[in-house]
Amino acid sequence: MNEIWTERYRPKALSEVVGQKHVTERLEAYVKMKNMPHLLFTGPAGTGKTTCALALAKELYSDSWKGNFMELNASDERGIDVVRGKIKEFARTSPLGGAGFKIIFMDEADALTTDAQAALRRTMEKYSRICRFVLSCNYASKIIDPIQSRCAIFRFRPLTQDDVKGFLERIIAAESVKITPDAVDGLVHVARGDMRRAVNSLQVAASMGKMIDMDTIYQSVGIANPEEVMNMLETAISGNFVSARNMLDEIMIGYGLSGQDIIKQIHNSFFDLAISDGDKVRLMDKTGEIEFRIIEGSNERIQLEALLAYLVMVGGNNR
């Protein structure tokens, strides 16, 4: 009976969480005290923030954890009013199973604007008797000071290669995956400390149904980075702006990738382009400027098109 491995092998208890001992020890102390302040989890993707929040809830509430724990995702909810509405609804009933408080876990809290965070701060205060908030974000600096000062801050470290490798090997044994040792190292390398990515890549490679070697790894990593982005860049470099723009629309509308997702992938892939090193460096700078403009502007496509036009020019210089 197969499942998505990132879920199947998600640690159920705090003690099973990999590579964040400094965090889990303090969280276990909260479980013992049956009390905790508001928490702020910060750290890169795939290091265990959500896993720790879930494990914390399970250990605090055991069987009644689902009724006492609410997940919100700041980047999915439309506006702070929706968030407040859900919080109000959740906080209306008292905690189940004799617990002293409920937990509201807000993932990607740094997706909230400063104004929304200010509103969230007031909401946190209003319900603090009944609810504890666990906020999760990539960068603490994106969270306003008044919220930071009300939270105990937990910094999640990027996972070491050994952490990732050890965890992958447990899955490899449990699923009896056939894989060469250097392929395991390859997986660890491409994951860059992101456990979710490592496990996803492993599952992709395993689903190909043969002995996994470095080639399989490259293939499976290629799947995770759709080659459409690369195709689009190459089309622009070859001078065909209109086709490149159609591909951009396809990626944004068809794949549903955001401008920021796309620019990150562009950033990862332009070293493979057939242009001079000088152009690569200028392109780096331009890409950074475009990412900044995406954040600052209103229409991501317009900004990415400016980058495509720039690529048409760079391509012209290199032809």
Binding site: M1, N2, E3, I4, E7, A45, T50, L54, E71, N73, S75, D76, D107, E108, A111, A174, E175, S176, V177, R196, R197, N200, Q203, V204, S207, M208, G209, S220, I223, A224, N225, P226, G239, F241, V242, R245, D249, I253, G254, Y255, G256, L257, S258, D261, I290, R293, E296, G297, S298, N299, R301, I302, Q303, E305, A306, A309, Y310, V312, M313, G316
Partner: protein, 466 residues
């Protein structure tokens, strides 16, 4: 001259309806079928843009066939109950004729039920309207006509509308057809009108006959002759014509100040102008230098728009518009090619075409996000590509999508890029059911292959259980 010409000159018979001979003959055929007993498709949908004679045709049809009329439009409170009580009851039993006479269906008095502006049936006030319409279409004993501007929108909400209706498309009449219709009116009103004037009115209305008639009435108020100068007081009706003018000013006129001025005249939001300029830029600026400079100006314009949104400070709007008009105009170094036609923003069309796919994707991402404790955007960027790849090879995971993640059959088929009745999907549905016997071998990739062996003999049956 108190009478409204759009009512006064509304066609009295089906033959008077301007243009659209095919639509007219289709609807007549359908009406004839009704006089011989209920046809297979009991409802007809008239679709097309505003002011081209859809309602007129329905009304003319009723009077020509000697049918009574039950009419509802968007200004009525169209809840399901209202539709049921008026339309369905009216159609199943009795009603009044348009002269107020009481008619009984059994006496042979048939009644045409007209739901005008049927595509406006959404939102809270019209709750339940769509199911009621579907029911009406299937059960009515009387002819039903739905009138819509946007057929797609309504058909998406109701498969009965999509499958059980006769669909009749209305084309916009050409400017010369409209001008001819205007000519009939001026002759009847005893107004002497220059051909050029009528032609200008017709073109200005952009295929909207009703608008043309209304304009004619307003420009000829109190006059018995119309000359070229009289149309100047009209504001242009169609934005599209204006947008084409603006595109000309931006890309080909070679005068940045005039381009900026043209933007004032169009009276459209900057984000809409942005779409137009963006669409046409690469076709107009085929020289690489022009293209790069033009895109850079667009990029700067967009930053101003972003700042407007973020700070709610609309004072910056004018800079955005300046950059996308004067700025883009000034970016040209090569000389323009006047042969190309300007294009309507393809992005808008792509977005509307991909609407159902995007909805499906969003639902899938929501379910996966809940299951995997993460956001939709992360599902889109990190999970979706690898998940699709694994699903192609892993039968066990396909079943898990239905059983654990709670995907619908269509949603799984969407992820697999196959139809809902493909073997992969059928087998997944079967496997997702609670196991009755022993579940051998846990985990492993070999399992997927083993599970595929027994052919899904009962696949058909299990599909129905969904």
């Amino acid at each position: 001259m108190a009478e409204d010409w759009t009512e006064k000159y509304r066609p009295k018979t089906v033959r008077d309806v301007v243009g659209n001979p095919k639509a007219v003959s289709d609807i007549m055929e359908w009406a004839d079928d009704w006089s011989k007993g209920a046809p297979k498709k009991k409802a007809a949908v008239l679709m097309g843009s505003p002011g081209i004679g859809k309602t007129s045709l329905a009304l003319a049809l009723a009077s020509e066939m000697g049918w009574g009329l039950v009419e509802m439009n968007a200004s009525d409170q169209r809840t399901g109950g209202a539709i049921r009580s008026v339309a369905l009851k009216g159609s199943l039993s009795n009603t009044f004729s348009d002269t107020g006479e009481y008619l009984d269906t059994r006496d042979g008095g048939m009644k045409l039920i007209v739901l005008d502006e049927a595509d406006n049936i959404f939102g809270n006030a019209d709750r339940g309207g769509v199911p009621a319409i579907s029911e009406l279409i299937k059960e009515t004993k009387q002819p039903v006509i739905l009138i819509v501007n946007d057929f797609y929108d309504l058909s998406r909400k109701s498969s009965a509308v999509k499958n059980d209706t006769l669909q009749i498309k209305f084309q916009k009449p050409s400017a010369s057809t409209v001008a001819k219709a205007l000519r009939t009116i001026t002759e009847n009103e005893g107004i002497e009108a220059d051909d050029l004037v009528l032609r200008a009115l017709a073109e200005n209305a952009g295929g909207d006959l009703r608008a043309a008639v209304r304009d004619l009435q307003s420009v000829s108020a109190g006059k018995d002759a119309l000359s070229v100068g009289d149309t100047g007081i009209l504001s242009e009706r169609t934005t599209r014509k204006n947008m084409y003018d603006l595109m000309y000013a931006v890309f080909r006129k070679g005068d940045p100040v005039a381009a900026r001025r043209a933007a004032f005249d169009v009276d459209e939001e900057p984000s809409y102008i942005q779409l137009w300029v963006e669409e046409n830029l690469p076709y107009e600026y085929t020289d690489t230098g022009d293209l790069v400079r033009g895109c850079e100006r667009m990029s700067r314009a967009d930053i101003y728009l972003g700042r407007v949104h973020r700070r709610q400070y609309y004072g910056l709007w004018s800079y955005a518009v300046d950059m996308m008009t004067a700025g883009v105009s000034e970016a040209r170094r090569s000389s323009p090619d006047n042969r190309n036609r300007f294009r309507f923003p393809s992005y808008l069309m792509k977005m509307s075409r991909s609407k159902s796919v995007r909805n499906m994707k969003k639902n899938v991402a929501d379910k996966l996000g809940t299951y995997l404790h993460t956001s939709r955007s992360r599902i889109d960027s990190d999970v979706m590509p690898s998940l699709k790849a694994v699903l192609k090879n892993d039968q066990g995971l396909r079943a898990s999508m239905i059983r654990d993640v709670g995907l619908e059959v269509e949603e799984l088929a969407f992820l697999l890029d196959t139809g809902v009745d493909s073997p992969m999907v059928k087998l997944a549905v079967k496997d997702a059911e609670p196991p009755k016997a022993i579940t051998k071998s846990a985990g492993g990739t070999a399992e997927g292959k083993k599970a595929e062996k027994p052919k899904p003999v009962t696949g058909q049956k299990s599909l129905f259980q969904f």
